[in-house]
Symmetry: C2
Subunit: 172 residues, 2 copies
Amino acid sequence: MSLKYAILGLLDEEPCYGYEIKHRFEETMGDLWPISYGQLYPTLRRLTGDNLVTVQVVQGKKAVDKRVYSITEKGKALFNRWLFGEDKKIQTSIKDEFSLSLFFAERMKRDELVSAIRKLHKKTIKRLSLLRGSAKSQGLDSLHYKKFLVRKMELMMEAEEMWLRELLEDLT
Amino acid sequence: MSLKYAILGLLDEEPCYGYEIKHRFEETMGDLWPISYGQLYPTLRRLTGDNLVTVQVVQGKKAVDKRVYSITEKGKALFNRWLFGEDKKIQTSIKDEFSLSLFFAERMKRDELVSAIRKLHKKTIKRLSLLRGSAKSQGLDSLHYKKFLVRKMELMMEAEEMWLRELLEDLT
DNA sequence: CACAACATGTAAGATGTTACATGATTGA
DNA sequence: TCAATCATGTAACATCTTACATGTTGTG
């Protein structure tokens, strides 16, 4: 599980509560890697049980309790073994509904297909421009590797957009 | 579950046994969407239980039994509802170990990072040339939408390669 | 004879989404 | 006052990978 390492890495910077972990991570990685609470909170529990992190319940401004997690020595050791460890894998598979439906597209009417593609294409262009806007507003200077993560998403979305454009050109 | 629709779609062309389903699908989709037997066979059982497909056990050449699956009317109806149905989603997230490790790359030594990237870059170039080779050898003519799936993989891998190249240029 | 390809599966666990459930605080 | 944001969680289910287990058939 990689989310585990995302959490450990963030806590290795400083103690955080769950909500904060999600937001710090997604600030940069949100487009590439969204985190749901349904996955986050159970994972934090498990990490606590495995003694990789500890919790401290803290009073919020008022009545709201926060569970602030800190990384343990065991957690640090595990994170470092992962970070400096064996070859990291890169994602290679692309499993999405639209691609699958294209596998069977000979059974669809051309105009239905074209209109579905047009819709997706518009959506992709919109997401791309949003991404470019938010990338600028993030204060990611040239010292930060994190800017490359935003750049990766941009390149991926550009490829997606180009692919949809090619499809449309070919079909019309 | 989308694998379900991949199976139903294939069986809607003609009856197949499990091994054959895997190979037919992966012939085109293998790079984008590999299927494991550990997922395939249980799924076929479930589809049978749901009366979306039927099985017939057939003697192979010799002692090897094949379980040949056929789609039912109920299965056809479900597949068509899916194929012609609501907006299909396109994959947007990219959750891989390497990208995550880049999130924490400030903690790594530059030369270690560079050598890790170089390794990945070489691997990517190799995969890309393999893909281009096999794309040619597949008899995918201009009538088949399936060629666009191969093209998509190519564009994705080109984007990946370009990204790694940018990273290397920036770091050296 | 060895190895690849053919053929089927199970078990365990990793990974992830969605819907539901609750309630306080802040700003327009 | 209404919506957004803050804050935590559970339950159900969907998806997928890896390792294990078994045996045959065809090819060099």
